[in-house]
């Protein structure tokens, strides 16, 4: 007997497929350059927003979105290798890949924000550091693209290995959120998504992206919080 269990919450699924779009877009526009550099900045910023969102969601999202529930601890990895792992979220080895992907993406956007191409494109925070340092970060940015390529290749290969060799469909759950599991193994479904938590995570992610691009979200938010005077004194 198999029953349907809700595993991936919708913000996580939305995050994943938007991330695929943004990463492919950033990669293509980065390689082409020229007129597409502005789009590279836009796709890159989408990556930035998504990763920030995911980091927050890793603490306040629903059950299987939480880092603590799939963090690849040594004992979990060991159990998995022995075939004793029976969770329903990311398995411990998959979790390694998840954290590696997120870390690499964070590094890419972190360096990209300060990078320059010596032609006509700079990350929005380029002006905060000197040119030599920006050149170093640009080099690291480009090099880390290769790390990302390897990780994505491994990621997609692993998924298709599960699909075709182990006959376990991981893709459909990433689309619908639901997994069919034997009744004996199936835990209760993930807790429902807290709407307020989602709004909070989204707002924080948007604020970061906006600030990075020189928007001044505080200007719009402070009147709401009633601290305009402190802000007005703090900034000229």
């Amino acid at each position: 007997m198999k029953i349907e269990v809700h595993v991936w919450d919708w913000p996580l699924r939305l995050f994943h497929w938007l991330l695929v779009l943004a990463v492919v877009g950033a990669y293509a526009t980065g390689k082409v350059g020229g007129e597409w550099t502005d789009w590279h900045g836009r796709f890159g910023s989408l990556v930035l927003g998504l990763v920030i969102f995911r980091l927050i969601w890793g603490f306040i999202g629903s059950t299987h979105a939480r880092f603590i529930n799939f963090f690849p601890t040594f004992s979990r990895l060991l159990a998995h290798l022995k075939g004793d792992w029976h969770g329903v979220g990311h398995n411990p080895v998959g979790a390694l890949a998840v954290f590696a992907l997120l870390a690499t993406l964070l590094f890419l956007v972190g360096t990209g924000l300060f990078a320059n191409d010596d032609i006509a494109f700079e990350g929005p925070l380029y002006y905060l550091i000197d040119k030599d340092f920006s050149d170093k970060l640009s080099g690291l940015h480009i090099r880390s693209v290769n790390v990302l390529l390897v990780l994505v290749a491994v990621h997609v290969a692993a998924i298709s290995f599960y699909q075709h060799v182990k006959k376990t469909d991981l893709i459909k759950p990433m689309l619908t959120g639901k997994k069919q599991l034997p009744k004996s193994l199936a835990p209760s479904s993930a807790q429902p998504v807290g709407v307020l938590r989602f709004v909070f995570s989204l707002l924080l992610a948007v604020t970061v992206v906006w600030s990075v691009w020189g928007g001044d979200p505080l200007k719009y938010l402070t009147p709401l919080a009633g601290v305009q005077t402190a802000q007005a004194n703090g900034k000229s």
């Binding site: 082409v32 350059g33 020229g34 007129e35 032609i119 494109f121 170093k136 080099g139």
Partner: protein, 153 residues
């Protein structure tokens, strides 16, 4: 006969080095030329793409003229033997593979000149959207060369 050839070759070598100067000079000249290009591309990007409200036709024409002039100035003379090592204003970033990639470099050189000349024409028209598009093509040419023969930091 053999001697004459040797003398001719030696003279040839002397005159080319005399034109471009010693290795350090060649590197310094080309670094200067590319920095100057960077100033002009940044100006066009700012005025035709990022902040079109600051578009200043005369400045953009001047920048496009400068880019075309540099593109047509025979920069390839500054890539003499041994210039993949050495220091101009700073250590050079020319890859050693430069010397094996002559066919590709020639093609890029030709494209660069063609697109820069076109940008000069389009700039004179003052059509901001057209300038932006053509400028993108020039920028892509700069990038293709950097991807091919410039060392990554």
């Amino acid at each position: 006969m053999k001697n004459k050839l040797a003398i001719a070759l030696a003279l040839g070598a002397v005159t080319t080095t005399a034109l471009a100067g010693p290795v350090e000079d060649q590197i310094r000249f080309r670094q200067s030329a590319y920095s100057f290009l960077g100033w002009n591309t940044a100006k066009i990007k700012a005025q035709a793409a990022d902040h079109p409200e600051t578009f200043n036709k005369d400045q953009v024409i001047a920048a496009a003229n400068a880019i075309a002039a540099v593109a047509n100035s025979g920069l390839n003379e500054l890539y003499g033997e041994g210039t993949d090592k050495g220091t101009g204003w700073k250590p050079t970033r020319l890859k050693a593979e430069y010397f094996e990639k002559q066919a590709e470099v020639k093609e890029i050189d030709a494209t660069f000149i063609k697109e820069a000349n076109e940008l000069q024409k389009v700039a004179a028209s003052g059509d901001v959207a057209a300038i932006k598009t053509q400028f993108g093509k020039v920028g892509a040419t700069c990038k293709s060369c950097h991807d091919l023969i410039r060392v990554r930091e």
